[in-house]
């Protein structure tokens, strides 16, 4: 049985699909689908344990199979001709006919030459391929796809019976296409022969077309047609590549890989194949079809348009990595990915439709993987494969959750998901897991993003600019969504009823998998990814470093403790209303209300920022479109240019090892001294400010008095759990400092600090008061504003000292002039980080009437004291960071810190507050211009 596992996995879903076509009874279908999915999952797991089964079934049949495939291809082509003619889509028709005749003509020509079948002529290598990457893809397709199938029957029943009774019930066709598609996906990842690959590739295009058009509404029809056209463009590229390569004796992926960058022709073919991958993966400028695909029922979006089919595109690009590495073609592919990552993330900021947000973030993440493939180094490929795994699991979970929510609250607008923690607690937790999995330290996606950043800085430091801006946008839209789930404006009814068992199984398993993949990814890397990459590549040495893994495990442990805090839920605290400028009106139903103008009583309501004027969905989408078009044109042009790029030297410096005693001593000193220094600095700040205004000002120790007083005040809250978020904010700030002063990795320090800030923002969201809500949004904007520059300064330090580790940077002082521009940019965002005027948007020490106190409005007593102390710790870390620019001489470093401190106070008292639009824009401009200029400087000044 094991021998025929591979063909079995392709053929079984096809048979299952055909069976389902004839089943119209709902219950029978449901159990059949469960059973088939279970078989798929089992098959995938079985394969993982027997990675290299032989394929006896196919022996001697190849000729017939090739003819059979040709027949099917012809049928598909006829079908597409029919639909395109009916839709009068002449472009698609032309694309289809060209590629069909190209491929079919080539195949017939080759097959007639030999009775052995096509592949015996073109190539001696096997038709099928089953290495570790295949196994990973099979696991993703089998398990995630299987779970989505289990989810689907319940969803589709509700879809037709409750929500769209007006639609024609075409469920048999739906499930058939679903399973046929899965079979084709297995086919793609098992295929070694390019013709086979192409065959299955076309089937997925067709399935996608059928499923997007499932609703048969005019909108879904046009969107399906658009998807078909764009995918056919990719198909044409593929067909051209097949013919080109076939004429030169290359007919399979393994042969192509062996060719490396042998000739100009190979590079052109690789470029064409990468182009096909880019269209399939919905990269800009082709991202439009994926956005349109969201009209399809949710399981389709989850299966085809996030976790599997679009992954086929990036899978192909990753397969091409050895050809692309270090070439201009590769560089262009990487650029398309990078542009897509930034544009996709930015567009998602301006969108409130949950499915669209997921679609754009899918596009963005695929961009990241394409970027990895284009770079093509070992580290990059490692990161790309990890991204595929993490993304598939977490994104499928999110899509399925949104599907459930949409059916219950009749909307998929994020704004309508307010208070989901009360209305659908379990689903809300799952969404939170999914979102955390998408971007939060220490979860999977972040690990991979980190690896990508590292891989890029070694090869193309300029591309890191895309990563840092893209990541900051990502952070913005995910946290916004998280906050919305938590926000509660009144008592709400529970709606978590009548969700079918299949859905719960799928959702539960995916949630567990999201967490599990984070825990066991070192093992996955060890077992599958490293052997695949080969050449003695060890991720632990060249990408992550084992000490960092320990730190991340620690962080995961801390985050995991969060649910424990709910045991403390019944503490005695006074619960009062949110602050509404004193205009609160008491109400019996728990909905917060206020007395508006003319005595009218209104419900309180809150809305997220979507930065419409700055990042309108359409505008950014268009920008991404044109930039990507330009890049693709250069890609086309690059074929005439010389191909190789000089290899860059990869620095790896072993981290400076600390003993446990040293760590403990440093940690202890930091724990005690940092708040003392921070508090004192706060006092000096106030004293100096007073002197600048010509008054005496408070005593220098005032900050300590304030905190001591706050500690003695009563605890009042609006929502009981808001305090826990503050406590975690506090813990993570301390943790960040500990990492920094124990000489750990700078990127980890940044991620940990971001995580801390996110807890702070979530606390304010949770408090559900308009002032804290706006404060939270503005804090998020500020985070998005400073994040790129902070990351860029880490990148700069890496480039001058060869290491991300604080200790190494400290011990290998570089000429501070090398980073002078980044330093200036860093000063700019430091004002934001210190929440000083002109950037004190989220909460301020001046002019307290404006928006009251923003993010801290609802925190009083001990919690406010914790916030204050956390800021002291944070400020100490930031000053130390300033010092890190000047490690060549301790005194200069100290002097720099003092000067920066005075400079901050001076600016604080001299400049008026900016609007948030201007703050964000200017911070990004400064980061982009100075950061990039400095990277260019470093490029020349080695």
């Amino acid at each position: 049985m094991i021998e025929n596992l591979i063909p079995g996995m392709v053929i079984f879903p096809l048979i299952a699909g055909v069976i389902l076509l004839f089943i119209s009874n709902d219950t029978v279908r449901r159990y059949l689908v469960y059973a088939f999915s279970a078989v798929l999952i089992a098959g995938a797991i079985l394969l993982a344990f027997n990675p290299n089964p032989s394929t006896t079934l196919l022996d001697g049949l190849s000729h017939n199979i090739s003819w059979g495939m040709l027949a099917v291809e012809t049928l598909i082509a006829c079908f597409i001709v029919w639909v395109t003619v009916r839709a009068k889509n002449w472009l698609a028709l032309g694309l289809l006919l060209t590629q069909f005749f190209l491929v079919a003509g080539f195949e017939i020509h080759e097959m007639l030459k030999s009775s052995e079948g096509l592949h015996a002529v073109v190539t001696a290598s096997p038709w099928l391929l089953c290495d570790q990457l295949t196994v990973i893809m099979v696991l993703v397709i089998g398990i995630v796809g299987g779970l989505i199938c289990i989810y689907a029957p319940g969803y589709m029943k509700e879809f037709h019976v409750t929500h769209h009774p007006e639609l024609r019930d075409r469920r048999p066709m739906f499930f058939t296409t679903f399973f046929v598609f899965l079979g084709a996906m297995f086919g793609i990842v098992f295929a070694n022969s390019l013709n086979w690959f192409y065959f299955f590739w076309e089937i997925t295009t067709l399935s996608s077309f059928l499923l997007i058009g499932y609703k048969e509404s005019p909108e879904s029809k046009t969107n399906a047609m658009r998807a078909l056209t764009m995918n056919l463009m990719g198909g044409l590229g593929f067909a051209l590549a097949i013919v080109l390569l076939g004429n030169n004796g290359v007919g399979s992926l393994t042969e192509l890989r062996a060719q490396g960058h042998a000739s100009h022709l190979i590079m052109i073919a690789a470029g064409l194949l990468a182009f096909a991958g880019i269209t399939k993966a919905a990269q800009f400028p082709f991202a439009g079809w994926l956005r349109g695909a969201m009209v399809a029922p949710t399981p389709v979006s989850a299966l085809l348009h996030s976790s599997t089919m679009v992954k086929a595109g990036v899978y192909l690009v990753l397969r091409l990595a050895p050809n692309l590495e270090g070439t201009i073609v590769g560089m262009m592919v990487a650029l398309v990915g990078a542009v897509t990552f930034v544009a996709g993330s930015l567009v998602a900021v301006g969108t409130s439709d949950a499915k669209k947000v997921l679609a754009y973030s899918t596009v963005a993440n695929l961009g990241l993987i394409v970027l990895c493939g284009g770079i093509g180094t070992k580290e990059a490929v490692w990161a790309g494969i990890l991204l595929i795994i993490f993304h598939a699991v977490a994104k499928a979970l999110l899509f399925l959750c949104v599907g459930v929510v949409e059916h219950k609250i009749h909307s998929r607008d994020i704004e309508d998901m307010a208070g989901l923690v009360l209305r659908m607690p379990k689903i809300a937790v799952m969404i939170q897991i999914g979102i955390a999995g998408m971007f939060l330290a220490p979860f999977g996606m972040l690990v991979s993003k980190w690896a990508v950043l590292k891989a890029i800085v070694d090869v193309h430091p300029f591309l890191s600019v895309f990563i840092v801006f893209g990541s900051s946008a990502t952070l913005f839209f995910w946290v916004k969504w998280l906050g919305k789930l938590l926000q509660i404006t009144g008592s709400m009814e529970k709606m978590e009823k009548n969700i079918s068992g299949g859905k719960w199984i799928a959702l539960g398993t995916l949630s567990v998998l999201t967490i599990l993949t984070c825990l066991i990814f070192p093992a996955i890397s060890n077992q599958f990814i490293e052997p695949f990459i080969g050449g003695g590549f060890k991720a632990a040495d060249s990408v992550l470093g084992s000490s960092n893994l320990i730190v991340m495990a620690l962080m995961l442990g801390m985050v995991a403790m969060f649910p424990l805090s709910f045991f403390n839920y019944n503490r005695k605290v006074k619960v009062v209303d949110a602050y509404l400028g004193g205009a609160n009106v008491e109400s019996l139903d728990g909905v917060a209300r206020f007395q508006g103008s003319a005595g009218i009583i209104r419900d309180m309501s809150m809305h997220n920022y979507y930065i419409g004027q700055l990042l309108g969905e359409e505008r950014v989408f268009k920008c991404g479109f044109w930039v990507a078009i330009a890049t693709l044109l250069v890609l086309a042009g690059s074929f005439v240019l010389p191909i190789g790029l000089p290899e860059e030297v990869i620095h790896t410096i072993a981290p400076h090892a600390l003993t446990y005693q040293e760590i403990l001593i440093r940690f202890g000193l930091y724990l005690v001294l940092a708040p003392l220094i921070g508090g004192l600095l706060a006092g000096i700040d106030r004293k100096l400010t007073a002197r600048m205004q010509g008054r005496r000002g408070p005593p220098v120790r005032q900050a300590f008095y304030d905190v001591a007083k706050l500690w003695g005040k009563e605890s009042i809250v609006v929502r009981r759990s808001q305090d826990f978020y503050i406590i975690f904010f506090f813990l993570f700030v301390i943790f960040t400092g500990a990492l920094f002063f124990c000489g750990s990795n700078l990127l980890l320090v940044i991620f940990s600090l971001t995580l801390a800030s996110i807890f702070f923002v979530l606390a304010a969201y949770k408090a559900s008061s308009p002032y804290s809500f706006i404060g939270a949004e503005r804090e998020l904007i500020q985070m998005a504003a400073y994040e790129p520059m902070v990351l860029m300064s880490a990148v700069g330090m890496y480039m001058t000292t060869g290491s991300f580790n604080v200790d190494d940077i400290f011990l290998n002082p570089a000429n501070p002039l090398k980073l002078i521009l980044i330093f200036v940019g860093f000063l700019y965002i430091l004002e934001i980080k210190f929440r000083k005027s002109p950037f004190d948007l989220s909460t301020s020490h001046h002019a307290h009437q404006e928006l009251v106190k923003g993010i801290t409005t609802e925190f009083s007593g001990k919690m406010l004291a914790l916030v204050e102390i956390a800021h002291w710790y944070e400020n100490v870390i930031l000053f130390a960071w300033v010092g890190l620019f000047f490690t060549f001489n301790l005194w200069v470093g100290a002097l720099a810190m003092v000067l920066v401190f005075f400079f901050m106070i001076f600016v604080d008292n001299t400049f008026a507050r900016l609007k948030w639009q201007l703050a964000l824009k200017s911070a990004w401009m400064v980061s982009l211009v100075l950061g990039l200029a400095n990277l260019i400087l470093l490029f020349f000044w080695k």
Partner: protein, 301 residues
């Protein structure tokens, strides 16, 4: 000296009148007078504030706002009424919509008279308020440490009546908030009315350090004993004091057939308390549009 006296954060609110005093308050907060010398910060947010500076004569329109802001400040907190308007209603006292001084709406700790009150006087008032703040802080610490054995519970006499009335107003604030209705009778009671009530009723008080922090009253009509107004100072709530007060009044009322008590239908705490002591609901009567009285009875064993 505790940090409380060194870090008084204020919030100011202008409850109508001519606005003159509010301008003076702002003048204090400006660099010329530099109150930050004393650690004073204008927070603009009740949840961060320790001292509430209110100016103007409260009117019908803004009374709820004053009350909301007061309710949202964390304990210990102090109220300073500024200007003669804030003290007594001043020249606006007779207006049709004016309620009078700030103390008609919330408890006031320090009065700063003057028309307009001078910045020096206001600063002086705040400094006085610091002592009150410190006192309340000690009171709060006491309450945290106090165990119910330490309370002295006995019959109240005529001299205790004003103090009990003041306590009643503090404690019933939270009731008024539950119902969104200031017509809760306990809040509107005057000294004359309560003195008249004292003639026919047994008053019990709970005392700690010479201060009354809880009370209850009972009256016998035929063979039914009516128990009403369980009052416990907010700092001392949740310590079992209510139970002890009810038991004490039952004992003092002596030989009757049933005990009857009543409370608002949404006062979950009170309903729970009576339920725990064996009282059962007997009937509900509407009182106002938002409040229904629930009557509870218990047979004497």
């Amino acid at each position: 000296m505790s940090a409380f006296k060194k870090s008084p954060w204020v919030i100011h609110y202008d409850a109508s009148s001519c606005n003159g005093c509010d301008i003076e308050v702002l003048a204090c907060l400006m660099p010329n007078f530099d109150v930050e010398r004393f650690g004073i910060i204008n927070t603009g947010n009740p949840k961060h504030a320790d001292i509430f500076l209110v100016t103007g004569s409260v009117n019908v329109q803004n009374a709820p706002v004053v009350r909301n802001i007061y309710a949202q400040m964390p304990e210990p907190k102090v109220v300073v009424a500024i200007g003669i308007c804030g003290t007594s209603g001043g020249i606006f006292r007779e207006c049709y919509n004016v309620l009078g001084g700030i103390d008609t709406v919330i408890p006031v700790d320090v009065y700063v008279p003057g028309c307009a009150a001078r910045p020096e006087a206001i600063i002086d008032g705040v400094v006085r308020a610091l002592d009150v703040l410190e006192m309340k802080r000690h009171f709060m610490l006491n309450s945290a440490g106090a165990d119910i054995g330490a309370f002295i519970i006995n019959r109240a006499n005529q001299n205790d009546i004003p103090e009990i009335l003041a306590l009643q107003k503090i404690a019933y604030r939270s009731q008024a908030e539950i119902y969104g209705d200031d017509s809760v009778p306990a809040l509107g009671q005057t000294l004359d009315q309560i003195t008249a009530e004292f003639e026919k009723t047994i008053f019990i008080k709970a005392v700690v350090n010479g201060k009354i922090i809880g009370s209850i009253r009972g009256r016998i009509e035929g063979d039914v004993a009516h128990i009403s107004r369980v009052v416990v100072h907010p700092y001392f709530q949740g310590k079992g004091l209510g139970t002890r007060l009810i038991k004490q009044v039952e004992q003092e009322l002596g030989d009757v057939r049933v005990f009857e008590a009543f409370t608002g239908h949404q006062s979950a705490q009170n309903l729970h308390l009576y339920g725990k002591l064996g009282y059962r609901e007997v009937r509900t009567e509407p009182f106002t549009s938002t409040v229904n009285w629930v009557y509870l009875q218990k047979e004497r064993k």
